[in-house]
Symmetry: C2
Subunit: 413 residues, 2 copies
């Protein structure tokens, strides 16, 4: 007997999912070992000219109440309808696969628990890195490892903007406009440029790796809107590029440090070669060492690739929970951002700043002072600190803030 | 009730497997949902001082006849004992996981079929790329794609040697000696430097991607032992590095082109930054586009990471075949190597070679002539051809071979 699948949301990812599934249907059915019909596409809009018009529906209950529907792709986004639909489907024993990082990051623990209790699956390979395989590699291939750290360039929009700033010396505003003109940034780019999207993704990866829900609202998240050409130049001359990095790691006392912020990345680091809209994620395990995953982190067909892969896996695990989950616990296991050691790049401004290097070293310890290629100013100094807690750095910065203003403070990777 | 696992072969990978499994045992058992004992370690040698001496056995039948053993890691290598053991275990319904690329490349189709028929699994994540997740990502995460091409730096030893030649201008022989001194190359390095190891790996990836057994003995395989400093230099000045590349792709008429050979890789290509013993594999799918997987392609714990991941997956799929297989067919679906189009780098030598550029262009078409940084010789010319079948190039080379000798011929990636 054949099986039915459904798609909720016929936007960019939804239409890509239908397209890719239909294109490779023969191969997919051979893999699963039975016929699969993509029977329903739920969307509130009308698509009279679509070749799939006959499968378009507006009533969610048709999917919910069809006993032959085994798996549903939730690609509608958001956390209201998507949450209600997903919960109802899982409670009915139907697997749900999704690209909805917001929902997975916020409600993953609860939805994975429901899936487990009802012998079905909630799969979310598409929620991080678009089509790049990363979720399943972590919980399957690297299951024998203790994951020490995950770092990643997780957002294509910001990486495109930074690449333009680094390679073509565009200002942030100009680079953002180019990203919007290319369709890489939305009219309201806040979620991308302020790091919110990357934050959801690193929380998903961290929750998966450490088995405990990491709330996106409770970790440090800063974006790239305040990165200036001055910072890009100082970094360049010193042998670094600036990238927006999500990171999560377990500390020696069992706490978890998670954050999203811009970082200075050495030009010798593989991440420095990850340009434009590409993503890269490095997983460090006690067995594997560093494993890096690279590719297009967004887009119609790449994301659809992950959604369809999950549809196939769900259909191959009929009535069997795969056993992916993390727990929602109240205990506070997160290390405060400012208590995590890092070397920091600092840029300060003020009258005669360049003459104060000795005084700055006396305040901050052994500093590396940086040169700028152009526009040498007597009023500006940039330096890199030794490893230090940012909370301690801030105390020192307060001492000099009466004479110098702190323009930038960026962690090194 | 708990389960038992066993390891066959207590060499580098075997001891790493035991070490990593025991280190992360609590996490692994939580994941699987029951207790797992690594009950037996089979090796013909004695290890009286090992902390696992009490589990060492010499009689394979103890493993075969213990009904509680559910999964066995075959990390003994070779194709005689390993084949017999694997076959017997699978026929007894016990899953086998392995790092044995030679056996998987040669007998994968047969062993996967036996596993399927007996409701167990033959898993081989460790056979390609060491600990880098690549096998499962292809058959799971990218299952919704038609795989268009897979290319990879699949052998760490040769990549280390080439990196030394490129970065430190060492000769091949000097670089090989350094690789041996570092433990990256064996006393008899043939399988690595002649591309045999990479050939097995690309055959495994191709068999998996295209569902048909690709015999390592039937595809083109050339190594790096004939790469000279002259080639490295010409490539460098032209913006390329030389890498040993395994590649497999499906042609438009349904044939498969598979080969291992050195290639000129543009310095703009991500692979040009893959240095030392690192591996990288690029999978191109019609949905995902390019997905790249990078990490340490060999070594004790990285390879053990993949073996232990497979042990866990096998234990989670008790009595259930996962459905990975390829077919052994007699029909010839392989495109002959020399019929596959490529741009080629060619270096020729002979009296007055540099004065013959016009004549060479008349023979080969529109050539790009290359400069060398040092040791300019009037008797040597190097150039890059347009896209051409190598069989046609060879015809043209035959015409000039009376006056010029062909020193090198390397495909571009």
């Amino acid at each position: 007997m054949g099986s039915k699948a459904a798609v909720i949301g016929y936007g960019v990812v939804g239409s890509g999912t239908v397209e890719l599934f239909e294109k490779n249907k023969a191969k997919i059915e051979k893999n699963i070992g039975r016929e699969v019909t993509l029977a329903y596409i739920l969307d509130l809009k009308d698509f009279p000219d679509s070749p799939y018009a006959d499968r378009m529906i507006k009533d969610f209950n048709i999917i919910l109440n069809d006993p032959e529907v085994e798996v549903v792709a939730e690609v509608v986004g958001g956390t209201t309808f998507a949450y209600n639909y997903t919960k109802a489907l899982l409670e009915a024993g139907k697997s749900v696969v999704t690209s909805n990082k917001e929902l997975v990051a916020k409600k993953g623990a609860e939805l994975l628990k429901i899936a487990k209790e009802h012998g079905c699956n909630y799969l979310f390979e598409a929620s991080v890195g678009g089509g790049i395989p990363i979720i399943r590699p972590i919980y399957k291939c690297l299951a024998g490892n203790t994951i020490e750290e995950i770092t990643g360039i997780l957002n294509g929009t910001t990486n495109f903007i930074l690449t333009k700033m680094i390679r073509e010396q565009l200002s942030f505003d100009e680079a953002l406009r180019q990203a919007q003109a290319n369709g890489y940034a939305e009219a309201d780019p806040t979620a991308d440029i302020e790091g919110i999207d990357a934050c959801r993704k690193i929380c998903i990866l961290g929750s998966l790796a450490y088995g405990r829900h990491i709330d996106p609202d409770r970790i440090h998240c800063s974006g790239i809107s305040r990165i200036t050409m001055a910072d890009v130049e100082y970094a360049d001359v010193a042998g670094y590029v600036i990238k927006l990095i999500g990171s999560v790691r377990q500390t020696q006392d069992g706490k978890v440090s998670a954050m999203v912020c811009p970082r200075l990345v050495s030009k010798k680091h593989l991440f420095s070669h990850v340009d434009d809209v590409y993503n890269a994620i490095c997983v460090k395990g006690d067995g594997v060492g560093d494993a890096v995953f690279y590719g297009r982190g967004a887009g119609k067909l790449p994301t659809a690739s992950a959604v369809v892969g999950d549809i196939i896996d769900a259909l191959k695990h009929r009535n069997t929970n795969i056993g992916v989950y993390w727990e929602q616990k109240d205990e506070d296991f997160l290390l405060p951002y400012k208590d995590d050691d890092a070397a920091l790049y600092v840029r300060v401004k003020g009258d005669g700043a360049r003459e104060m290097t000795k005084g700055l070293s006396a305040t901050f310890g052994n500093l590396i002072f940086l040169d700028r290629r152009t526009a040498h100013s007597e009023d500006e100094v940039a330096f890199i600190t030794p490893y230090i807690k940012e909370s301690e750095l801030d105390k020192s910065l307060a001492i000099i803030s009466h004479s110098l203003s702190i323009e930038s403070k960026i962690r090194l990777l």
